[in-house]
């Protein structure tokens, strides 16, 4: 799969094109050199505005490589999600530079495996585990989660010897909103028919935009938008005209799991929306500005994240409707990482919901190994063949 016009300039035209993690690492290094402390995070539930309000840099920790899994399985069961095993393996083998840079680690009780894995790394660096509400729609969820964010604030202030005033927090909220608005303008180019941006370019931006502040990357984002507009003017688009548009939902997909994306493209599909924490999901909602209690505003926003660790996660279905409306997919692929019970059980509901809308649905349960590549390819090809027939 490629651009219709050969020689199209990459969206982020630097030495890191196609290697988004390296770009993020470079960014983090520069933050550190400027004297900022670094906070390592694992998950989209980490209240990043609080971390930035402390003047700290954010390191999204390594979790996407098959190569650290064997080392992890010395302590962890093999029947566990590869993301958790890989995360732990990176630490056990001391091979995650992001972890190396981190002064403290912030984690959440999202799923069983993560929660228990954190117990095994808690003693290595200062670590704060936030008790995440599991029923986001319950009346007390907001105050409970706010209390956890306040505890995080106290932890960071003490451990990093930094302070965050309400004004700092409010400024961080506004920064996030500004960033998310620009990112959504970028995503609009994926929503176009045909798209003018590909999934690797989306990752080039999201991998940096998750940890970075708008202030730090505004220029790069604006430049990317300009480039995308130029592409439209020049008639550049990605993939064949009429290639089936795929919305990928489910677990985070990156590194060795990105094999799924490659296979989809090789089978003729074009990825137009990535509904997961490594993709577009984290940029989809705004935080209320200028409220009397900015921490409560942050709490409300994070509780809106439609993750399968929540119950009942009905917001995933209503958000899915909005995504379908916006990105107009021809098919939906639900990626479930092996042994991720939350997304695995929820997949049934998602399948019912989207098939009722008449959109073909494919669930792929996979891990980071290459053993199932052939099988996934066959299933992706079959999916696109059905689409051809029904067209």
């Amino acid at each position: 799969m490629e651009f219709n016009i050969p020689g199209t300039i990459p969206l982020v035209n630097d030495e890191f094109a196609g290697e988004p993690a390296k770009r993020a690492l470079h960014y983090l290094q520069s933050k550190r050199q400027q004297g900022h402390p670094v906070v390592g995070i694992y998950c989209g539930y980490a209240p990043m505005e609080m971390i930035r309000a402390m003047g700290a840099g954010i390191a999204v920790l390594c979790a996407f490589s098959e190569k650290t899994i064997a080392a992890a399985e010395v302590a962890l069961p093999s029947n566990l999600c590869p993301l958790i095993k890989s995360s732990y393996g990176f630490i056990a083998t001391d091979t995650c530079p992001f972890y190396g840079f981190s002064d403290v680690i912030v984690a959440e009780t999202t799923c069983d495996g993560k929660k228990k894995m954190f117990e095994l790394i808690r003693h290595l660096k200062p670590m704060h585990v936030m008790d995440l509400p599991q029923l986001p729609d319950e009346q007390e969820a907001e105050s409970n989660w706010s209390a956890m964010i306040r505890k995080l604030k106290a932890f960071l202030e003490k451990t990093l010897d930094r302070r965050a005033t309400d004004r700092d927090i409010e400024a961080a909220i506004k920064d996030t909103n500004r960033k998310n608005r620009i990112m959504n303008s970028v995503f609009d180019f994926a929503a176009r028919k045909p798209p003018v941006i590909n999934w690797k370019e989306i990752y080039d931006l999201t991998f940096l935009a998750v940890p970075a502040s708008a202030a730090d990357i505004h220029g790069l984002l604006q430049e990317s938008l300009n480039r995308l507009e130029r592409r439209v003017k020049e008639g550049i688009h990605y993939g064949k005209n009429g290639a089936p548009r795929v919305l990928v939902t489910g677990c985070p997909v990156a590194g060795d799991a990105a094999k799924v994306f490659n296979i989809i493209e090789q089978a003729g599909g074009v990825i137009v929306a990535i509904d997961s924490c490594t993709g577009m999901k984290g940029f989809m909602s705004e935080i209320e500005e200028d409220t009397a209690d900015p921490i409560a505003a942050i709490a409300r926003r994070y509780l809106k994240i439609p993750c399968a660790c929540m119950t009942p996660n009905l917001r995933r279905l209503s958000e899915m409707d909005r995504w379908i409306e916006r990105f107009k997919p021809d098919a939906i692929v639900d990626v479930v990482l092996h042994a991720c019970h939350g997304y695995n059980v929820e997949s049934h509901k998602v399948m019912q919901h989207v098939t009722e809308k008449g959109i073909p649905f494919l669930k792929i349960e996979t891990d980071y190994s290459a053993t199932d590549v052939g099988q996934i390819r066959t299933r992706a090809e079959a999916l696109f063949e059905t689409l051809q027939r029904t067209k």
Partner: protein, 381 residues
């Protein structure tokens, strides 16, 4: 063992469902529970009948897998399968089913069970931090009380709650007395018998009947052993079984250990010693209930310090020779925790430790038998 009280147990068990049916016809509500974190006192205080729900049989798993992933804990698949195939009379009788956000799999199947019965979910904190978790949990328990009041039309006063606490505490004391018989050497009852008694009595509508029957068992066991009728040889190995809940139909590991001549002396699991810690009768009742249940040492808590404390207490109190840690397949929390538990048992107590991961099927029975026999051989030396 061949105890006459087993006949009586069978008789009351058979009568029990008929009694529940009769009570329902007379207007009493039935509330179904899945987990040891459920505050049953609230149901009792409202005059409702608390019943445990089925989840220990292999049969309904195939039906469950039409909707649920295969790679999920058999207890969860069995629970869902029983409900989906309408093969659990207690689920059928329930006017309200109670669930907790314990583990990922359970949390998500309650969404699907809502299709069959009204569900009330208690949001369980994931740690036992007294500063924040306890006040959150207290709110949840209070909300549950309000829900039960609405369902039953009964106002749950402190007095009613205190009565319920006294009753369940009495049951806990009786169960503990029965379990503590196993502190004797040689052990006067088999693990399989203990499980049969606690499993069946757990379903009794009338807690009083259960308490009396446990007392009868204790008396009969003591008389029998005085007369030399002990199920174990003097030097039989004493095994502590820790980990996931086991029931009468999911007891293959217990059967295998005991067939090999060793005794499962005590259970550090939900049906076992975890279930006999008391509620403080002096405190404000709802607060005391919240405190007791939050302290349950399950692996879904992080960290789960209480499990290590309880294990240590049991290893010493029951003169244990070896520890077997049972994990149901794909139960991540017990599976991951097993690593630290193994280090604790071997490091602190210098006891042999065996971790077994299995499901409800019989497909691996032979393999388990070989591993268990090899383990017991090692314990002996």
């Amino acid at each position: 063992m061949n105890l006459a009280t087993f006949g009586k147990l069978q008789q009351v068990s058979e009568q029990n469902l008929l009694d529940i049916g009769q009570a329902k016809r007379e207007g009493r509500k039935v509330i179904g529970f899945y987990c040891l974190y459920s505050p049953v006192e609230i149901a009792i205080a409202a005059g409702a009948i608390p019943v445990p729900l089925c989840g220990t049989k292999n049969d309904p798993i195939e039906a469950a897998e039409k909707v649920l992933p295969r790679n999920l804990c058999p207890l969860i698949k069995s629970s869902y399968g029983h409900a989906a195939t309408d093969t659990c009379p207690y689920f059928r009788a329930s006017d309200l089913v109670v669930g907790e956000t314990t583990c990922d799999g359970k949390k998500k199947i309650f969404e699907l069970l809502a299709e069959f019965r009204p569900i009330h979910i208690l949001q369980l904190p994931q740690n036992q931090d007294l500063e924040t978790a306890l006040s959150f949990w207290y709110q949840e328990v209070k909300r549950f009380k309000e829900r039960v009041e609405k369902e039953t039309g009964v106002q749950i006063t402190d007095e009613r709650l205190s009565d319920a606490i006294r009753l369940t505490n009495e049951e806990r004391r009786a169960k503990k007395a029965l379990m503590d018989l196993a502190k004797e050497k040689p052990c006067p009852l088999t693990g399989r018998d203990l499980l049969t008694i606690t499993h069946k009595i757990g379903f009794f509508m009338d807690k009083r009947k259960g308490i009396n029957l446990i007392q009868e068992f204790i008396n009969e066991i003591q008389t029998t052993t005085r007369q030399g009728g002990n199920p174990f040889a003097e030097d039989a190995l004493r095994i502590l079984l820790t980990g996931v809940p086991v029931g009468l139909d999911s007891d293959k590991v217990i059967r295998l250990i005991e067939r090999a001549g060793a005794g499962v002396i005590c259970f550090e699991s939900c049906g076992g010693y975890k279930s006999v810690s008391l509620i403080d009768e002096e405190k404000e009742p709802l607060q005391a209930i919240a405190e007791k249940y939050l302290a349950t040492p399950c692996s879904i808590m992080s960290p789960n310090k209480g499990r290590y404390d309880l294990l240590g207490e049991m290893i010493e109190g029951f003169l244990v020779d070896g520890v077997v840690d049972l994990t149901w397949q794909a139960c991540h929390t017990y599976n991951v925790e097993s690593y630290s538990i193994g280090q604790f048992v071997e490091g602190k107590f210098h006891l042999p430790f065996l971790h077994l991961e299995t499901d409800y099927s019989e497909s691996d029975t032979e393999q388990l038998r070989v591993r268990i026999e090899a383990f017991l051989e090692m314990v002996k030396n």
